[in-house]
Amino acid sequence: MKTLIIPTTLAQTKLDCDGVIIGLKGLSVNMPNYFDITDLKKIKNKEIFICLNKNMHNNELKLLEETLIKLNDYPIKGVLFYDFAIPNLKDKLNYDLVWNQEHMTNNYYTINYLKELGINYTFVSSDITLREMQEIKQNSTSKLLVTLFGYLPLFTSKRPLVNNYLKTFNLKDTAKTNYLEKEGHLYPIVSDDQTVLYSDFILDGLKESLELNYDYMVLNSFKIEPSLFEKVLKIFKEVNIDNIDDKNKLLNNLIPNLKKGFFYEETVYKVK
């Protein structure tokens, strides 16, 4: 599997990885940072994916289309999308699209259908089991990405929820990232022009990286101290069947808040 990182800084794009996923100002959400399109020129010798995953409104379509067309002139591999406005503009683009509706990319039938429509990549959801991820690989010819390390976005809203709370109770705080606490669990919450709540844990897919034969594994640097992130990246790059126990121990010593998410647990939806 190739390794993609979602960097917080441009400096991190120089880390030892195969590629990067970059968010752009005004068109992305759930990203640790938002870059200018001209920053892409500073990224060398990496596969570059651009994540334009906002839910778009009419008044953002002009910027979206201009940006998509400008990206034709950059050496990018593909654009990750949430909103189907982007596939609707596909005929104007010379790069691949990556279906990235983070909680909906859950079955291979839809992945295959979108491939029929010319969408050759899917960023598979983290809300499904490892078994389901493997089934997707076995039954799909699309190129597949999956997050194997990092906080997971759980909630995205157009509402500025933290600011609303501060205003209602006449409170002041200028932090971009806050935390919500419930029953001892701390959830990072980012509120700028939208609100995103992240998981209270960092997904650990180290062992699973040996079991999933995907095209790309994604490591997200959001809220991970840069020197730690570099070490984590090294562990994921070096792990193999022979050293998994040592690497696993190393990772757990570095990062205390690791969990396996839904790799081994199915959600339920009918309460008896």
Partner: protein, 401 residues
């Protein structure tokens, strides 16, 4: 073309009430593939009965098939879609592209794009049209101007929510329920974590404490105030949220919007503040226009100071009426007693005020209090009552339906 009033129905009784009280169409969930897994929901036989009932009234039934599918669920899907086609449902509502694809490939069903896709712009709507969707249920984050622009740019049926609860997130973009309670929000198990309280901390992990705790919770949506504007935009369908709601809620909300829509087409529509108050009262929650008027800031949020004391206005349902003896058979829904002043309201928008005097139970005993759920009692009235007329307590102000 007159705008469609589309109501929710959690079961066959509510389907009938919604249609009788003035909805042009209802949306329902089957026992499979719907986003309200914990509602009663409709078996295929129930759906068939509902479709026959609706079609006899020249009304429509749409079936939600709007879960986000996992691999194993797809296997059952084609047969289910074919059954829905055979039953002659008027459309399905889908969010997963596989449902849309298989419905187009294997059936002649009309497909409506669910609001779970949070479709908010004309390019996305154009994409939906391209893949064969006949109607798009727009996301709730849109202003009047945005909806109009979409309508002007893409020739397709548009449906918008006009009333009911709101997701705090973009629909489909929340898995709080999955991660906090293991219940899958996008497969019908949402446990409404957005209504929980949380403590808010700053970056240094110092608590930021207001008078109430932080919550994601949003007030409800009501677009009664903007009904004229909405109709004039030219959308096809106006949707009421709430497949888990009671028959009283559905009857009341549908009646109010039915009356307002009919008044608009007769040229005498006036925004009725009393009707708005009734809408708030029946839901026990404040309802505001939300994104439609561009105001989605702090006034949209609830911070656990919401009034959600169970509403006990709804007293009973008329299940029979003996015209010769002028005796109504009432099935109880909430406590009432001799001396209460009540109102009967029906789908013809008639309201009868009545002071309860003699109450007889099933053994013909005279009783003073009706306290048992679904207890059957008999009241003598001077006016005729239709079956499915509802009885509510009379509040100080007329409910003005």
């Amino acid at each position: 073309m007159k705008v469609e009033l589309l109501a929710p129905a959690g079961d066959l009784d509510r389907l009938k009430i919604a249609l009788l009280y003035g909805a042009d169409a209802v949306y329902i969930g089957g026992t499979l593939f719907g986003l309200r897994a914990n509602a009663v929901n409709f078996s295929l036989d129930d759906i068939k009965q509902g479709v026959i009932f609706a079609h006899n009234l020249k009304k429509k039934v749409y079936v939600t098939v709007n879960i986000v599918l996992h691999n194993k669920e797809v296997k059952l899907l084609i047969d289910y879609l074919k059954e829905l086609e055979e039953i002659q449902v008027d459309a399905i509502i889908a969010s997963d592209m596989t449902v849309i694809n298989l419905a187009k490939k294997h059936t002649s069903l009309d497909v409506h794009m669910s609001t779970q896709q949070s479709t908010l712009n004309y390019e996305s709507v154009a994409f939906a049209k391209k893949i064969g969707v006949t109607r798009v249920v727009l996301g709730r984050e849109l202003s009047k101007e945005e909806i109009k622009e979409i309508k002007d740019k893409v020739d397709i049926e548009l449906e918008i929510f006009i009333h009911g609860a709101m997701c705090a997130s973009y629909s489909g973009r929340c898995v709080l329920s999955n991660y906090l309670t293991n219940r899958d929000a996008n497969r019908g198990g949402c446990s409404q974590i957005c209504r929980w309280d949380f403590d808010l901390y700053n970056e240094n992990l110092e608590q930021i404490k207001g008078l109430k705790n932080f919550t994601f919770c949003s007030k409800d949506l009501s677009l009664l105030k903007y009904l004229k504007d909405i109709i004039e935009i030219g959308v096809t369908s106006l949707k009421i949220e709430g497949r888990m709601r009671s028959i009283y809620y559905i009857a009341t909300v549908v009646s109010i919007y039915r009356k307002a829509i009919d008044a608009y087409y007769k040229g005498n529509y006036i925004y009725d503040e009393l009707a708005e108050e009734t809408l708030n009262r029946v839901a026990n929650r404040d309802a505001i226009p939300q994104f439609f008027d561009g105001n989605y800031q702090e006034n949209c949020s609830y911070y656990n100071n919401r009034i959600e004391i169970s509403n006990q206005d709804f007293l009973g349902v008329v299940i029979d009426y003996d015209k010769d003896k002028k005796i109504a058979t009432i099935e109880q829904r909430n406590y009432f007693k001799k001396g209460d002043v009540v109102e009967f309201f029906n789908y013809k928008q008639e309201v009868f005020t009545y002071k309860i005097e003699d109450i007889y139970d099933e053994d013909n005993n005279l009783i003073d209090i009706v306290r048992h759920p679904k207890q059957i009692v008999f009241l003598k009235t001077d006016f005729n009552l239709d079956i499915n007329t509802l009885m509510r307590i009379k509040v100080d102000k007329s409910l003005n339906l």
